[in-house]
Symmetry: C2
Subunit: 454 residues, 2 copies
């Protein structure tokens, strides 16, 4: 029994040297972002005040692969390649014939997959002579990752942290500060957007985005940085799936189904796109499941339409599944999944039936996470707990079918800063909030005017 | 530059299959623990009410190597081998010609080296038919590690957590509960020792030990488990140093100096003993530095004498450097280093000049830790921050000497649960407490009657 390996490790020489650009292989017409006033496609010039040209080129690249700069590879070596695990103890606990594999991104300094894109974003900005990056953060995963990356490349970093998280997650805040960045409670009195919302008790990701964008737009030496949704962010994350491909080959297995949680889509895209490329190019028959919270059911209850990327309407219009940019999901602990929209790339794949979406309630995801932690040791963040819930469903289906199906899922981060939620769950005090149907209806009624999507 | 490797990884097949028993090679006469009443050597029978025979045999083993059971190896595979890093960015930040390597144990599920011994302790107890383990924990590293190990082997686990930590570190408490263990705030009303100290505002490690020992002594199906100090605990930790030996060989270098922090001694022993064995057997010329807090300077200010292992005087007498079992160190954040004594094995090596001890103040260790975090990414726990302070001193000495000395240190855990201390340090609010000379004098005056040590 114990002779069977549980980890598939790669050496530093096996870190991928290019990113996979799935945009090139996406079926259907391209759906570029639109300027909200003219409804014309938004071009590189529209993005230049916020992003360096190196990232804008990646955002619209027509190449199937994009080379990873040497300086980025050098920083990746601090924690990459990440391990792929065979969850043998979890399989036994579930009494399933399925073979369950997970790609674990929690070994990065910030504890999640986010540094995979924070590092190239900091690098491209430093190369362009930018002195400071401004960003927002919800639960703090993204803010801490960008703070870490800025420390590596000598950039200043200013993080607007959603007020409720700032108050409830002081450890994530201290992590950001330890890496040398500045954290502001949002709404702050440093921006017009903050002052206009000064009375908001908890703040929101929408307000925090507006504050960071405002700071970046007004100061030429400051740029803005986003941790998900955009094409270049998903591009950077494809190091995950490329390593997983090599590791699954080392294990001598082929996944029947690939599962990851979706908030803005960068974790899902990072794991799935290298596998999806083989489906689109080579006809591989892999299934893909995107797991999201029932409290913020973008892919399962949203409409496919052009909408703003932020709550207050400062961004170009994006073609995606959306609950309406005014939709405010109830406060589930998976803060990284509380977004009204999703990456256009991931949404297009769902629209075309290549990816299946499933929504799960908060308590059933924590139940899955505790089962996993007691079998495998790792305590998952609340976001990948959604993927684990879907894994359990698939493992049960394999048992009923009597088939040794191969399941691969993304464990995108550890839960070291989410243990108060575990305590509430174990004490029977964790809420299982539902969104208001009336709020969803109202948010969907206020979508911006734009061409319909089919 | 970036072509140079920063990590030295091993495969699962390279996990050591035996532990290194340095007891056999220790110079000088053996100094067995003594029964406090008779002052006769305490034998296996004295330990049998608390520990299973498998561990007692390891405690006194005359063999230079002890085979690691197959079931323990299977569990080690969940996180071992751990990586060895070359800290190239830290070297550049320090502008030193020294080559700095660190063995990182923070990738274990509990985030430190402690599971290396928690797993074999849980295994030997489960094999002996024990149903439940009782233990104490200070900051929570040990309690969470034993909870994890008990989950793997189907044991119940009861943790008495020092009251002040229970109140201040709710996340460590929740981690223990997530793995299925029960946590009691100590002093509790479950034991005589707890009731007798009910009015103690913060509790202490001494009271918590007494509570756990009392529970174990009274219930035949319950045993006691200790996370450091004892020979078998240090034995288990030697997987660290054996892997580091192989990884340094892969790097093609030989350490001039090996550095680790010392609380009870298990982290230091785990890294250093396989290297010390080569000094004792083969005449290798490696220096060893044990880093401890100036607020609890056991090795640098204690006396070498027989003393109780716990504060209230329930244990056999142990030959060690001690500040007196009644000494209560001021509340530095490195909770794992706040112990009045140290492992007899480590103390004997210090006494014989094979290991040099150095004491550091709290603020200078956090200064070192922040420098390290901004260069290498990993945020260290407060305990290994003491080792990093010593590394900086050695790196500066190498620069002054103009020599590319090779430094290896143990980074025994991450600081994810210690970020409030970082916040205090960065805000200029971290205390830098000194112990009271009068308290030390009083504690040393109340050492138990026992033969003198030379």
């Amino acid at each position: 029994m114990s002779e069977e390996p549980v980890k598939y490790l790669l050496s530093e020489r096996d870190i991928p040297e290019q990113w996979v650009n799935l945009l090139v292989d996406l079926p259907g017409d391209p759906l570029p972002p639109l300027h909200p006033g003219t409804l014309e496609p938004a071009g590189p010039a529209d993005l230049a005040p916020l992003f360096p040209m190196g990232l804008i080129e990646q955002e619209v690249s027509p190449e199937p692969f994009v080379a990873i700069p040497e300086e980025v590879l050098a920083a990746y070596r601090l924690w990459r390649p990440t391990p792929l695990y065979r969850a043998r103890r979890f399989e036994r606990a579930l009494d399933t014939p399925a073979h369950i594999y997970y790609k674990y991104e929690g070994t990065s300094p910030a504890g999640s997959h986010k540094p995979n894109t924070a590092v190239p974003q900091a690098y491209e900005n430093a190369r362009a002579g930018v002195r400071r990056l401004a960003t927002e953060t919800g639960a703090g995963q993204w803010g801490s990752s960008l703070a870490f990356a800025c420390a590596l490349f000598g950039l200043e970093c200013e993080v607007f942290m959603v007020g409720s998280s700032y108050d409830q997650k002081p450890y994530r805040r201290s992590m950001i500060q330890t890496w040398g960045a500045t954290v502001h409670r949002s709404p702050s009195d440093l921006t017009q957007a903050g002052k206009a919302n000064a009375s908001h008790p908890t703040g929101s990701l929408g307000i925090a985005i507006s504050e960071a964008v405002e700071v970046a737009a007004q100061a030429p030496e400051t740029h803005y940085s986003l941790g998900s949704v955009l094409n270049h962010v998903l591009l950077h994350q494809t190091v995950i799936g490329q390593e997983a491909l090599a590791q699954m080959a080392a294990a001598g297995e082929e996944p029947d189904v690939v599962i990851a949680c979706v908030g803005g889509g960068s974790n899902f895209g990072g794991l799935a796109f290298p596998f999806l490329r083989r489906v689109l190019r080579d006809g591989a028959r892999t299934r893909f499941i995107a797991a999201e919270p029932a409290a913020c059911p973008t892919l399962t209850r949203g409409v496919y339409a052009y909408d703003f990327g932020d709550t207050v309407g400062l961004t170009p219009l994006i073609a995606m599944y959306t609950l309406g940019h005014g939709f405010v999901p109830p406060p589930v602990h998976a803060g990284g999944l509380r977004y009204h929209g999703d990456s256009p790339l991931v949404c297009a794949l769902v629209k075309r039936g290549l990816v299946q979406a499933r929504a799960y309630r908060q308590n059933e995801t924590f139940d899955a996470a505790v089962q996993f932690a007691r079998a495998e040791g790792v305590i998952p963040a609340p976001e990948p707990a959604h993927a684990i819930r879907a894994v359990i469903d698939e493992a049960e289906a394999a048992r009923e079918a009597g088939e040794p199906r191969v399941i691969l899922f993304g464990l995108c981060g550890h839960g070291h800063f989410d243990l108060s939620a575990y305590e509430a769950y174990l004490g029977g005090r964790l809420e299982d909030p539902e969104f208001s149907e009336a709020d969803l209806e109202a948010a969907l009624a206020s979508l911006p005017k734009a061409p319909a999507l089919t």
